[in-house]
Symmetry: D3
Subunit: 213 residues, 6 copies
């Protein structure tokens, strides 16, 4: 099955979430569609993460995402629950300005205190739009990918390369290339494909059409 | 979100199932893709249903499905469970001959004794392929459409017209145009669209792409 | 199956929620039982909603609910999560004063930021009591009605009439009479009845009895 | 909440299932409604169960069920799956002759090879009717009672007395009075009542009404 | 199946939660493993609960838990949601200091406003560790025990004795010995054992091994 | 968490199922416990599989399973549904002769026509015993491992070596060492361990104890 959106929004809580969750697919979408990558917290409260923004831009660059397609906001890490109404209003505005056809954000199953807020508010803000959930290993809990998206070996490699740009996190097990690659292979195997990224479905509103007009 | 398949298979247990389950979408797909509509039982054991095949072809014709895209097999109504291995083998062959990109069949939630067999065997036979489940009111049980597909007013009207061709079932409440139309409007409202048909997701294997090549 | 409560509580977050969620059933219950309709926020912070309270009373009047059976409180819209402990204490008091046999409130599946709070606190406050969840289209998400309640054509019509009293919301798609009616017909069809309203079950504590004493 | 049916059908696979699953409620319903207790297999293939039918009638008598309200059929134990079409046709006929308002049968969660067949066919045969599922300990698996029905101490005692009539099964742990009683107390506690029997909901179609006419 | 942890953490929101949820198992574990019992709120804001801490220690003593294995913190009852980040940080520290092999805490299904917070934060804090959920009757909602743990009659008796130490709560129905005992018997019956305590599985990370080294 | 059984039964439909599903864990258990590996069909109806039995014994030998701990029966592949009552009776006998503490069999989520039968009958036959479900990629559907079991690198390697013994299936993608290894790494990552095999929980009946006596 082919699926397509002319405008695609990728939404993550922190720098690295989008790349971890669906970097290979992002590399593919960036070549075909008008994309926007929004990270809600820049994590700059944490002095140990001084290099993070630079790494995020480098990582996104490897995936083919130009600087102007990247937004990084200043919602406060670990306090998204407290600030959920402002996040919702921010997303409402994003929706009316960009009108995405598809939104990729955190899976509902994720247990990080900020990630679940992103998902809930995205479901509210992007009514009538398809919303697919990606998984991030460090806070994964009970995620099952019933929407498997094949990616090429080249796209898989670019995901690995993009994640290697996060030197700050080089020691984290969830940045381990073998684990990243194994997830791509495992999800590929579930789909009878060499590589795939897996999503769960928060809401699908589709039109049968190649989207040519 | 756009979705698309070059070859699309519609699979129902009895004449009328495909049209009831997704007639409006079928009218749309028939214009864009290479389709095949397979009904597993022709119901011709039942002497009261003598007109049924004629009505099925007429109904399909209204939806734009040519005769050569329609197969009606002779598996015995109400005994699909007994004959499930043969049905599976039939579907394996269908898969190797036609290699569909998307399969539409009965939802897993359906409680008719034959419908569930179709769904189970389709999941086995079409591994690595997207399978979406449609609902048929007379045996509906706990179906929730998390894959909503918008259709136009014209496609909705053609579904109503196609079902009217089943004069044999004119008195059945589940052929009542008001109920058919209400379902299209209700599913549309869930999707913020005027009309939609609803499916549940048995398996999605997708590729982000317009499918142009 | 007949079901009955001598004292029935309808609980909504905002004016219009109860009528949208179960106006037809409310018209029926109002004739047979001692009812109380509680709306937690009067929405009067919003200057564009100046007519809302008048419309709510008019709408309720059409459904046969007398003014003294209507309570509208001043919890702040969009901040129910912040104020959940006070809402819980309010509901505890409501329970000890009114001792309802059945409570109708928002379904757990609803994604509005205030609606879910009402449901959660109602489950805490009305322990040992049946609680049924209604759906409101603008924030509907994955709702499936496994408790279908038939209503008459007259009750269905009164729901439509009551909603027409909300002139403030006349342009909202979820007040569109065709959508309201289609939902009543669709849920009716699931129950083999001409019209029904659908609920999900948050908790049932029942007694087999006609409730005559 | 009160609930009521003028005609109530109790449906079990084998003698003892109905009494184990909902004997206390049956004792209550038998006093208020027109009931029918149908057991699909008489288990008379098994020579060790020669006393079983006598015990079943005695047990039912203790619960206040007259002989003419008891049907015991001859479907073959352990082969219900093979004979499911005949069982379905039997239930269709039962439905058209008796037109029950409520059907109590085995929960869908039950793992006995015959019990699940009864449930599936009942859902098909009694469309448009409320169907509630009871649990039987020996084949219980993942049952959760979201429909709790309070019973009196006297009704609880009569259930214990009725089960004691099954002398054939006196050594079975699932006939142990302490276990039977503990289940009644535990389910009562979940409902804030002294005693309750628990059901899950297979389908509810209700009317708000005392059922007086 | 045997299961075992060298270091076991029991985590409850309020004094009495651990004993109510799994007192019999705690009596058993206390004899075999290095345990720690942590209660997050001492409930000492409430002047009617002046005896509670004494009763908690007495109750724990009956179960064989020495004073030094008991921690009672001062998070504020009913405000755990507000204070969730501090609770999470407290649990992170607990994890790094004690490194438990198994954590017992409230089931996710519990509807008390504080209990759910404990569960969510425990899942975050104890990543890579087995977490099992216990049920507490006063806020039980939809709990199903798919991890049944047998206990001896003596352990069951000690649970009853320990709960009797809570004279402050002597009138609460959920301290009623018959209800406590019925729950032990009912869960035992589900497991084909005389007595069991029931848990649901929040996460299992196991090693097949007797844990001798 | 440690878990342990003195007698462990591994139950698969066809030669290769046990090794694919949990070969690494089997290598570990074989060193510590009294094991029995039962395959219900020898697949010898299929002339292309003439080497299969030899390969099965060789594969099991690599995992440390002696010939006398291996049973291969002659139930007919693809017809387990038809023969389910005989399979059940076979399993009853297995249970009374071997009395396993833990049973590993196919996950309930598996869609192969034979695998589901094994699971259902195992749940019936081994009442009161823990039953864990393993996944087999070729018929995997919606499996999520909530019981993760860590294995060592050596055990992971032996699984790969054992599967290489199936030269008959050398071309099947689900025997591809990279896919097998990726699954071990991915499941390990979910558990914060280098390697793990994943199971779902069909039933757990446990005792807190090291199982020394």
């Amino acid at each position: 099955m082919y699926f397509y959106g002319k405008k695609v929004l990728f939404l993550g809580a922190h720098p690295d979430d989008i790349e971890l969750g669906c970097g290979a697919l992002l590399a593919r979408v960036a070549e075909q569609s008008d994309i926007l990558c929004v990270t809600l917290s820049d994590n700059q409260d944490n002095p140990e993460l001084g290099e993070l923004m630079r790494e995020h831009y480098e990582s996104m660059d490897i995936l083919g995402v130009p600087r102007e397609a990247i937004l990084v906001e200043k919602f406060q890490t670990r306090n998204f629950a407290r600030d959920r109404q402002q996040i919702l209003e921010y997303l409402y505005q994003l929706n009316s300005e960009h009108e995405p056809d598809i939104v990729f954000c955190h899976t509902e199953a994720d247990i990080h205190q900020d990630h679940g807020v992103v998902t809930q508010e995205a479901l509210r803000a992007f009514r009538g739009t398809s919303v697919l959930g990606f998984d991030v290993l460090r806070s994964s809990y009970g995620f099952f990918p019933n929407f498997l998206v094949e990616v090429t070996e080249d796209e898989a490699e670019r995901k690995l390369e993009a994640l290697a740009a996060y030197r700050t996190y080089a020691d984290k097990y969830y940045f381990d290339p073998e684990i990243i690659r194994s997830t791509l292979v495992r999800h590929g195997a579930l789909a009878d494909r060499p590589y795939a990224e897996g999503f769960d479905i928060l809401r699908i509103v589709g039109r049968f059409d190649q989207g040519l007009h």
